[in-house]
Symmetry: C3
Subunit: 164 residues, 3 copies
């Protein structure tokens, strides 16, 4: 039944490449807005984007070798996402979070929960996990599967593909 | 009549998320190139992109509360757009503007005027304006409407969606 | 014959705007993954992306006037691509390359060769070359043609357009 309604609209597939706070907010705003209006939505997290899906928040020594560990330590987790804009003195994810809160816009955590409730499908990129030395169990349970580029493209054949 | 000609081509919808000078130039180059070849084009400005649409140029205290004002002051306006690349010593929007001028490429202002003349539709994102404490009257008259993500997606159903 | 097989899938057109190491890796990963699964793939290099196609590696004085030369000197070539993320102390393209090598993921050079072998079409943006003072002979032989936005859009009419 839901499928039937959903099939009226074109699917939305978003590649979450960037791990920037503001871009993740943008991706989830599009994703939840699309899912709430009966669209089938898939998010494919790769590279820096994977940082937003790590189970262990904060800077931690994940990974099987020294380079991976250093990398993951530097990256921090979802609570440490930076802004994509660096060149405005005084601008920080904290300021943006504050403005979102003050203006009653959903927080990033609320957006993640909404996406989950709305059935947004979350994929993690196989190759990027390989590069970063991450394993399936390092990521949140909300991740539906670890897939390659070809699988993602196949499932997005009749979707809008958006790279963020 | 124009509609008839336009319908031959797929529509182009561009999400202008970034407020970087070079990315705004890229968005308007695609938009005007597409509109000049009889395509229906919509630009949806959100987050940092809204900075390029503000009526009052320069750093000004827009917004209804302290955080919004600080934010808008820091952001400046269209004349203060930074480059997306920070890591090249000496590279500045001024250098790029200079090269565009020297090589007879349309300036950003000329691109904005061309887009207007070619009937490119400009939308501002409702939620982002909410976060940033901006009102409709703070934006240029070229903005056709303030809409939400769902409206944008509905109108872009049969378009290429490009996120810049 | 190949055409026949390829026509089953939707084409992929990628605008390579960014010259960042990680984003070029992402573009080529999608491109080669798509081409390997019988998709027709076109890469359209513009702005900073052109830096990855320059024949002469290293910082060199390309271009017909002082501004262009300064610009091209600052940009370096494919071996000097920076990362899109600047705000992680100690993170460098070298670290990422090291992790790719250690984990047996194709290097950027291998990705370029694979794209070539798989018949990925490479276009350079006419206007950006004009701005940057670059000529056809400054670019690698793998570049199929120098085209404008309209040509790119025409050929991408029935493709997924991805802006990276």
């Amino acid at each position: 039944m839901i499928q039937e309604i959903k099939s009226e609209h074109k699917k939305i597939s978003i590649v979450c490449f960037s791990g920037d706070f503001d871009k993740i907010v943008a991706a989830y705003t599009i994703a939840t807005g699309a899912a709430a209006t009966n669209r089938e939505v898939t998010l494919f997290f790769t590279f820096w984007g994977l940082n937003a899906l790590k189970k262990r928040q904060g800077h931690s020594w994940l990974g099987k070798d020294f380079l991976s560990r250093m990398f993951n330590f530097i990256m921090g987790g979802r609570k440490n996402l930076p802004l994509s804009r660096l060149n405005f003195a005084g601008m920080s994810p904290g300021l943006m979070s504050g403005m979102m809160k003050k203006n009653n816009v959903a927080s990033l955590e609320e957006l993640f929960e909404a996406a989950d409730a709305l059935g947004v499908r979350i994929y993690a990129c196989e190759m990027a996990m390989h590069i970063l030395g991450l394993k399936r169990e390092d990521l949140e349970d909300s991740v539906a599967d670890v897939v390659g580029v070809a699988t993602f493209l196949n499932e997005s054949e009749d979707a809008h593909i958006i790279f963020i």
